[in-house]
Amino acid sequence: MSDIVELEHHFNEIQRAFENNELSKEEYKNLLEGLEIEKTITMNADELQRKEQLNTYITAAISAASLLS
């Protein structure tokens, strides 16, 4: 499942609980703000992952070059 589809699914869960009176207005707002943070966490994690991949490429390239020199 893509990140967007997943977030939409979680939004619908919160919406459904609110419509069924399982959540107060404050709880509903709190959970929606939490979804916003979740979105940011996904973006920050992607950024760190890209950095890790680049680190792997650089390290591999340096090792390969060192072996040949």
Partner: protein, 143 residues
């Protein structure tokens, strides 16, 4: 092929992957990024595991309040632990985000005496998903 030429080709290839002037900064950040830290990983794992266990106790407001207190302590420790580690910007951001998310849950129990079981479950699910996302990337840091 001359090894010196090969080095040049490899270095140029990496430089061509990224556009513009940000290339050098990105390469520097990536190459010198902070490596894997066992305690950092352990803290995010504790937050996730506690949340997974606590979800079964959401029907009790008293227990849930205590559980969110414990989670909040762990989240503060995680945030503070990462804060001054050099070249650790992305993990600092993640620990701040997780701290904010857990604080939302904890605050709800201090602003109301009737926090619902549904809120508890949905908030813990947010914490579980987010800490798992963070755990995956923290565990993949270079050794």
């Amino acid at each position: 092929m001359n090894p010196k030429n090969l080095k040049l080709i490899i270095a140029s290839s990496i430089l061509l992957i990224l556009p513009g002037c940000a290339v050098v900064t990105k390469l520097y950040d990536a190459y010198f990024m902070t490596g894997y830290d066992n305690y950092e990983y352990s803290l995010v794992n504790k937050i996730r595991s506690n949340a997974e266990i606590n979800i079964k106790q959401c029907d009790s407001i008293e227990l849930s309040k205590k559980n969110f207190d414990t989670l909040y302590s762990l989240a503060v420790e995680f945030k503070n632990f990462t804060q001054y580690i050099p070249r650790n910007d992305d993990t600092i951001k993640l620990s701040n985000n997780i701290h904010d998310l857990v604080k939302q849950g904890s605050d709800a129990y201090y602003s109301s005496n009737n926090t619902s079981s549904s809120f508890c479950k949905l908030k813990l699910q947010q914490i579980i998903r987010s800490s798992e996302t963070a755990q995956k990337v923290i565990g993949s840091k270079p050794r």
